[in-house]
Each structure stands twice: as structure tokens, then as C-alpha cells.
């Protein structure tokens, strides 16, 4: 990935179609409506934080966008193009990359090779092995794993394994990056470098959607926050506003909590 010199943050673009738009997106599993009627759009360069209590449908939501689960209703538009229900590799070739909540490294391959798979089969479709491996090395440098490139994924610490997920996603030179709870289980000291990496990506104009539980991270990176509750959009808006919204407090802390506080 070419690194641009750090400049002032790229403003959210209002020109052209939003990088991601969903219209009435929904998914039903048998009798359970896991996600229903989710509609929103993310303009280029914006970072959208997605929060919601357990069982809110956040993971399902990401999988619906990336094609790992088919929607049962609604549409997914990427750069204005309808890619609803497209397979994951088609979405990847549209320069939409993601990380997985439970890290999924390719065992039996070195860390460099792990990243190279994306360079070879992603949107750039490099054919020359040596080029792909060299490009993988560059991406690994970017995320701070350069020194570990020849080792195997099993040897990585939890924080480094998360960085490998980043690297695999960045190998696609994505326009849209979907982060699935990348801060989960990290100590405070480990969260800082991740926030810095995300920050540097934002400065380059990356559009990011981050599903998170760690509110500190949400507050630090999000331009807007979307709250999912029981599969539906509860509310959205500026981070601090949303987190002080009575309905959001109720969703997280219990159905009588906010009212009780007021007594």
C-alpha cells in the first residue's frame, strides 16, 4: 500500500455515490429476524462506528455486507453498484476488505504468504509470485509486523494476530474497510497502536466501518455512530450524542435503567 505523507484529514466526500449504502437490509434465520430493515449510507472518507448490545446483529450485519451471508431482504450498494448477495470474492474485488472477529490466519503458510494470498487473488490480481511476496512485505511493514514476516501465524501474540488480520485486509488496497471488533480483548497498551493505525488509514482517506464494544475506541475514531438493537437501527448520529441517548442507555443497561436514574 503506498503511504501518502501525513496531511490534514481528508474531508468526507459528498461527490459521487456513497462508498456503501444499504437499503432495508435484512436477514431471517428460520423464525428469528436477526437483522431487519437496516438502511444507512457511508460517504467516502467517513468512519462509521457500529455498536449495540449482545445479540444486536452486528456480526450478521458485517457478513451481509461482505457476502458471507445472503440477505433475505434489502440491498447492498457499493459505489452505487448493486452487489446484494454477491459472493465474498466479488465484494473483495470491489475493494471492500474486512477483518474477522475470531482471527482466521492460514496455518501452514508463513505470515508473508498469508498476506500474499490477498495480493495474488484480490483486486490487483498480481501473477508474479515474487512481486506478490514483496508487496506482502510492504503491507506487513505498514502494520508493524515486518520483522515477523517469515514466521508462522501460530507463533503470534493476540495483538499481533489482530494486526495480521489488518494486513490481510490491507493487501486488497481497499476503499472500504470493515473492522469486526478489532479491539476486543486487547489491553490498554495494545489498543493505542491499533488506534494509531486506524488513524493513519483515515488520514489517507480510507472509509471505515468499525463494529466495536470498546467505547473508548469508538469515541476515538468514529465520525458517526450507528446503534443496532435486536437487529434494527435504534439511532445514529454524533458519537457523544448517541452514547448519551436514553434509548441507547436502556438498550445496554436494562429496560428500566435510565428511568431509575432519573428518580
Amino acid at each position: 500500500m503506498t503511504t501518502m505523507p501525513a496531511t490534514s484529514p481528508a474531508p468526507a466526500s459528498t461527490v459521487g455515490p456513497p462508498v456503501l449504502e444499504t437499503r432495508g437490509l435484512g436477514r431471517r434465520f428460520g423464525g428469528l429476524q436477526a437483522v431487519s430493515d437496516v438502511s444507512f449510507s457511508v460517504p467516502a472518507g467517513q468512519t462509521l462506528g457500529v455498536i449495540g448490545p449482545n445479540g444486536a446483529g452486528k456480526s450478521t450485519f458485517i457478513n451481509l455486507v461482505t457476502g458471507h451471508i445472503r440477505p433475505t431482504s434489502g440491498q447492498v450498494l457499493i459505489d452505487g453498484k448493486d452487489l446484494t448477495g454477491a459472493k465474498p470474492w466479488v465484494i473483495a474485488k470491489a475493494r471492500v476488505a474486512r477483518t474477522f472477529q475470531i482471527v482466521k490466519p492460514f496455518r501452514g503458510m508463513s505470515i508473508r504468504e498469508n498476506v500474499a494470498v490477498g495480493v495474488l487473488h484480490g483486486p490487483d490480481g498480481t501473477s508474479v509470485m515474487s512481486q506478490a511476496l514483496a508487496a506482502a512485505d510492504e503491507v506487513l511493514e505498514r502494520v508493524g509486523l515486518g520483522a515477523q514476516a517469515s514466521r508462522s501465524p501460530g507463533e503470534l501474540s493476540v495483538a499481533d494476530a489482530r494486526r495480521l488480520e489488518f494486513a490481510k485486509a490491507l493487501a486488497l488496497k481497499p476503499r472500504l474497510l470493515l473492522l469486526d471488533e478489532v479491539m476486543a480483548g486487547l489491553r490498554h497498551t495494545e489498543i493505542e497502536p491499533s488506534l494509531e493505525l486506524i488513524d493513519s488509514l483515515k488520514r489517507e482517506g480510507m472509509t471505515i466501518i468499525a463494529v466495536e464494544h470498546v467505547m473508548k475506541a469508538i469515541l476515538a475514531i468514529s465520525d458517526r455512530v450507528l446503534v443496532l438493537h435486536q437487529g434494527q437501527v435504534l439511532t445514529s448520529g454524533a458519537p457523544r450524542e448517541v452514547l448519551s441517548d436514553e434509548r441507547v442507555i436502556e438498550a445496554y443497561l436494562g429496560h428500566r435503567y435510565a428511568k431509575r436514574q432519573q428518580r
Binding site: 448490545p53 449482545n54 445479540g55 501474540s157 493476540v158 471488533e181 476486543a184 480483548g185 489491553r187 490498554h188 464494544h213 470498546v214 467505547m215 473508548k216 469508538i218 469515541l219 457523544r240 452514547l243 448519551s244 441507547v248 442507555i249 445496554y252 443497561l253 436494562g254 429496560h255 428500566r256 435503567y257 431509575r260 436514574q261
Partner: protein, 232 residues
Amino acid sequence: MSMLEVAGLSAGYGRGLVLREVDLQVEQNEIVALVGPNGAGKSTLLRALSGMIPVREGSVRFRGRSLRGCSIEQIAHLGLSHVPEGRRLFPGLSVRDNLTLGGWRNRSKDVSRVVELFPRVGERLGQITGSMSGGEQQMVAIGRGLMSSPELMMIDELSLGLAPVVVDEIIARLPDIAASGTAVLLVEQDVDAALSVAERAYVLETGQVALSGKAGELLADKRVQESYLGIA
């Protein structure tokens, strides 16, 4: 001495550590709530206590005995019962069979205590649990946990997927359970429900105990909201 005494507990999965130096006590016949945001390690703590994952550091003493290194069966035998997240009933079996399987510790088939607490379960002893509603399943799950007459029952996220009315109904039965000899350690997302029934509570945040104290006091403490939402 407390019935359950946890000191300096550290545990995790694989190479990572989820819990760091957790201290916690539960007294006889007490209801203690364990709350905290997602990913804080609440379920991990229960799993460490019931023997599903190994304790990396620290001590766990239950009724005076150390639980470290004990197998899941041994811990269950000692009187520590775990009602897991998501109920995990045996969906193809009847209510009565599910309950009986919970009573293997003392070969008990006596469902009277469960029926008394949850009359709705009593009316459906022959029904296949897979066909029951979420609330009814949760009642059966708790009933199953009670069949072995445990001294301490740990309940993991009973409110998940349940309507608030049902949650209230089930939570209301916990004081009876505690009073009749089974202390309860309640892990809950619904802070309001948990703190309204518990006597004491702990707030877990990123693997450590951030707050602890009397439930009523914590309910009024703004810091609880902060640990969930980042701001008060």
C-alpha cells in the same frame, strides 16, 4: 470464610489473557451479580470457575477446597452448578429428561423444587424442550441447574433473547432460590434487572474488577454507565 473465594484469578484462551487478577466472593444464600460490558470476561470467569478453562494464576476456593486443577465433573460434584449462556438444553429430550440429567450428582429425579419455583415448567414436563419458548427454556435450564441441589449456582446471561417481562418473571424467583440454600452468582447484561435482585455486585471491565459493592449503591453510581458506554 466465604463459600466462594476467588483471589488474583487470571485466565484466558490459548495464549491470550482475558481475566487479570480478579477478586470475588460469594457468601452462603447470597445473590451476587457480575455485570460489565461485552468482552469484559464475565463468561470467561464462569468458565474458569466451573473448570471448563484452566486457571492460569490465582486461587479459587469453594467451601474451603481449592478448585484449581479439578475437572469439570469434580467441581460439579462439589456443589457448583453452571447454567451456561444460551441455555444449552438437550433440544430433543423432554423437560423431565433434561431435569433428570441435571440431577445425576445425587441420582435425584425429584423435580418438586423446580416445579414449585416454575409452575409453567411443571405443566410441561413431557414437552420436548426444543419446541418451547426462550423464556420457558431458560426456566428449564435453571431448573436443571438446581436438580443437583448445588450450594452455588452460576447463571450466565439469562436475559439474552428474552423479553423484559419474562426476564423480570424469572429474576423474581432468584431470592427464593437463594433463601432455600443455593447461592446465586448472576452474570448479566441487563444491569437494571441484575442489580435490582442482587445483594452485592461486581463490575468487570476488560478483564478486571472495576467496581464492586452493594447492588443498590452501584445502581445509582454513574461509573457503571461509564464502563458500558464510555461516558457518563
